[in-house]
Amino acid sequence: MPDETNDIGLERADYQGSPNTLCKGCGHNAIIGQIMSACYELNLRPEEIVRYSGIGCSSKAPTYMLKRSFGFNGLHGRMPSLALGAMFADRTLTNIGMSGDGDTASIGIGQFKHICRRNPPMLYIVGNNGVYGLTKGQFSATTEAGVSFKRQGTSRYLPVDICMEALASNASFVARSFAGDPKQLRQLIKAALRHQGISVIDVISPCVSFYNFAKNLHSYEYAREHEIPLHELEFVPTDHQIMIKDFEAGTVRNVKLHDDSIIRLKKLDKEYDPTSRWQAFKVLEEAEEHHQLVTGLIYVDPDIPSTFDRYDLVEEPLNRLGNGRLRPPRESIDQINQMML
């Protein structure tokens, strides 16, 4: 039986990572699984993807996918700055940052806020388990208030809502999903990879070793029972648009991304407009109040300029410019010296 390949002739195995050392059942595994599938299905060449992460189990996860791509596992909470700088090197690449709730919302909240503002073209996915996995079960900034662990006491403060933070910082694509909802997650990832600015996906990703308790939001059980998808979601790449037709009018809303691909949102219970920042705040606020897990595309602004649209740089990858284009010409030095008085 010949192996199945995608349009660029690669097999699923070409998207695999190094041997996985996360716990079995860890939500992060589901996330990287969907990223690998999304990349395969979007026909992305692994060498044209770059992985970034901070420190934590979630930040180790990128090691276990896309082995054939470049990657940098940096410092705790500092993935955004590292990624931003690296993205300047070759702006044609696809960028995937993966982080955790501790990495993003505790130590990393400052860099997270600022990368959202800057809006570089990258998927910023958070494996949000409401706990520090790698350091063995301390509270993170997304742990719900009032949770008690024997060696930690009680978590005392209201949790950080990563989507709300992204929104407040003008991130241009904000979504929430759940590691136990692979279908939705994959569609979101695909859309995110095609969006021209930062795409924040906050994924509830249970930690089976330290915090998968049914009474808590970040568990499989709770999330499954309280998930409220905002819509049924499908990503239609540019080259597949023919498919759009077969939809009943009225029940579907299409959001067109900058590259003309489309996010097709099928209405569920309520009408929801993901292009209104204001509605986005509201839906998050309400979900928080009712301890529900709202998932789906919470907000998108497909046309807001990305980081690189704001710099007038030469078109070629900066890291391929020859010395001749980097060092000013010899003549110029006299002119400069003349100016020095």
């Binding site: 190094s18 060449r45 692994p46 060498e47 044209e48 770059v50 992985r51 090691t63 082995k67 054939r68 791509s69 470049f70 990657g71 940098f72 596992n73 940096g74 410092l75 500092r78 955004p80 700055s81 590292l82 990624a83 931003l84 700088g85 690296a86 993205m87 300047f88 090197a89 070759d90 044609t92 690449l93 400052g110 860099q111 600022h114 710099y311 007038d312 740089l313 030469v314 078109e315 990858p317 900066l318 890291n319 391929r320 410019l321 010395n323 284009r325 980097l326 060092r327 000013p328 010899r330 110029s332 030095i333 006299d334 400069i336 010296n337 020095m340 008085l341």
Partner: protein, 611 residues
């Protein structure tokens, strides 16, 4: 030269120090640098120094212009001429005047009862300014030019040069230039009419030794050097006294680094949200194959500790300028020091070693500006450049900047075709594999589309193929290779500069801007019969000359601007066998080193030895 003078034989020619005392935010710096520029244009060596508060408007600020026919650029401790335009500091200021010096002040000020000189003249500033035909809101700014004129007249500064300096400053804004020159003229006229120049002991005469020289501050020089070094990515966070390294880039990049074909930039400057992020960004960029740099000062450097460890260990080339100021902590943000050296040398937890360059002049700021990239990329490691406020923010005389004399060295980077060739040749590549036996591996950068080129970088343990590893041997071998690699830096960094005198038994070692007063101190010592040799350290790791120098001399004075003798400590570690011969001559009070201070200490010490 003094002998040839056409002036009265008692005059002191081209060898004195003028101090301007002002209030900050009143635009006095235009006036003061006009004086400096005019003197420079007369061919006389000058150096200017700004002493300013950590404040925007309303506090005392001082500017000194040293005029030195011998070309001495160091700070002097006393003023020969004072222009006092701040009532609040008059009483303290005059204490620094040499006896018999010249004092100009605003007639409206109440002056101390007794002055160490009879040559004190009140300038009717208000009257003179009001006579000028200019808008009210500009008067106080332009008014400063009045004292420029008075001074020019009394010291014999060529008014044409004053005009030239003003025009240079206002670059094409002819109206403003005219207005300012007019004020200066008014001052000169008043001086001619009211003060007898003959009585003034100081005068200037044209020379020609500054011909072909330039005036520039170290930060601007650093900025230009960086641009000529082909910098591609800059991230920074504002901090005095480092900000203008970057701000100058914002000014010069559009001129020098627009791609001629497309008119687009070949370098991006990103203001980060803090220094943690600034360094993070340039590490990303450096890893991505860009020449990346940042500039900061002490507090920012402290925030960079963790990231510098990552860059060291993941072997990412970046360039970090540390323009030092007085610490610890926020300290005195607008005062100069050389006090981050030990911290920089030991920065970050774990075993790390950093390559450090130490420019001692504007020409070296320029040169190290580009050279730092060559070293960083060759070694795949951070390069720290330690400048300071005195060097960075003051205008210095120097030779014209030299176009880099070696092509850009991008180090060992493999692109698609290289990997392809290696593969064909059966040559094994691993990101951290020491292929050449020089401890420096080959690297690839993202964007390289060859499937065999990619790797995963990290700050955790990794083997030669960049695979995660906790293996004890792998860790130890890697760390040992990093140490060998660091040793390679000895051959790449700028060698120390050594100057000798005949039969010198004692040595002086400095680094960075403390260089400025040393030549003068050595001349003074020589005049007292003490011959000295001199070595200026320009980099870490040390090279053999440094050890030889210590060995050759009976005693070596290590002169630097800090409390703890930081360079002396590093020298001690390098050659403990010679440590007993080292003498710590360090001080930190926020002011630049002076020749007097050095001479005095060495003289006292040597005298003790002779006794």
């Amino acid at each position: 030269m003094q002998e040839d003078s056409t002036q009265s034989p008692h005059k002191i020619i081209n060898d004195f120090c003028v101090m301007f005392s002002n209030i900050n935010g009143t635009g006095s710096s235009t006036a003061n640098t006009t004086v400096m520029r005019a003197l420079f244009e007369m061919g006389i060596p000058v150096s200017g120094r700004n002493l300013f508060p950590s404040n925007i408007k309303g506090l005392p600020t001082w500017f000194t212009v040293r005029v030195s026919k011998d070309g001495y650029l160091g700070r002097v401790e006393r003023d020969h001429v004072q222009v006092l335009m701040n009532q609040d500091t008059v009483a303290e200021d005059v204490k620094k005047l040499v006896p018999g010096g010249l004092v100009l002040y605003d007639e409206a000020f109440s002056m101390p009862e007794t002055l160490p000189t009879s040559l004190a003249f009140g300038i009717p500033m208000e009257t003179l300014i009001n006579e000028l035909d200019i808008e009210k809101r500009l008067r106080s700014y332009v008014g400063n030019m009045v004292y420029v004129g008075v001074l020019a007249s009394l010291l014999g500064i060529d008014m044409e040069r004053v005009a030239g300096a003003i025009e240079f400053h206002f670059k094409g804004k002819t109206e403003a230039a005219k207005m300012n020159f007019h004020a200066a003229q008014r001052g000169a006229e008043w001086a001619q009419a009211n003060i007898d120049r003959i009585a003034i002991p100081y005068t200037v005469e044209p020379m020609h030794i500054t011909d072909g020289y330039i005036l520039c501050d170290g930060n601007r020089a650093a900025s230009l050097g960086t641009i000529y070094g082909g910098v591609q990515f800059v991230s920074w966070y504002p901090i005095t006294p480092a900000s203008n390294v970057i701000e100058e880039m914002n000014e010069f990049l559009p001129m020098l680094r627009k791609d001629p074909e497309t008119g687009r930039m070949t370098c991006a400057v990103v203001q980060a949200e803090d220094e943690l992020s600034a360094l993070g960004m340039i590490i990303g960029a450096g890893w991505g194959g860009l020449r990346a740099m940042t500039a900061t000062s002490g507090p920012g450097l402290s925030l960079m500790a963790e990231h510098l460890g990552l860059a060291y260990f993941a072997e990412v080339p970046v360039v970090v300028w540390d323009v030092q100021r007085v610490g610890p902590s926020t300290g005195l943000p607008t005062r100069t020091a050389q006090n981050d050296l030990l911290f920089a040398a030991n920065i970050s937890h774990g075993d790390t070693e950093q390559v450090i360059l130490m420019p001692g002049s504007i020409n070296e700021c320029f040169e190290f500006g580009w050279k730092a990239f060559d070293i960083a990329e060759r070694l795949q490691t951070p390069v720290l450049v330690m400048s300071d406020l005195d060097l960075g923010m003051n205008p210095w005389m120097g030779k014209p900047f030299q176009y880099p004399d070696t092509p850009m060295d991008r180090g060992k980077v493999l692109w698609e075709e290289d990997i392809e060739r290696w593969t064909k040749e059966g040559k094994l590549w691993g990101r951290y594999l020491d292929v050449d036996g020089d401890a420096i591996p080959y690297r690839t950068v993202p964007g390289n589309r060859h499937p065999g080129a990619t790797y995963f970088a990290r700050g955790t343990g990794h083997d030669e193929f960049a695979r995660y590893s906790e293996d004890p041997q792998v860790w130890q071998d890697n760390l040992a290779r990093l140490k060998r690699k660091y040793r390679q830096a000895r051959a790449l960094v700028p060698q120390p500069i050594v100057e000798r005198q005949k039969n010198a038994r004692i040595g002086i070692i400095t680094w960075g801007s403390t260089h400025m007063p040393v030549g003068e101190a050595r001349d003074q010592l020589a005049a007292k019969g003490i011959a000295t040799d001199y070595l200026r350290v320009r980099a870490l790791p040390f090279t053999m000359e440094v050890v030889d120098f210590m060995q050759e001399h009976d005693r070596t004075y290590v002169v630097e601007l800090n409390r703890d003798g930081q360079m002396k400590e590093l020298l001690t570690l390098e050659a403990p066998q010679h440590a007993y011969k080292l003498r710590q001559l360090s001080k930190v009070d926020g002011l630049a080193m002076t020749a007097e201070w050095i001479t005095q200490r060495i003289w006292e010490d040597e005298d003790g030895c002779h006794a």
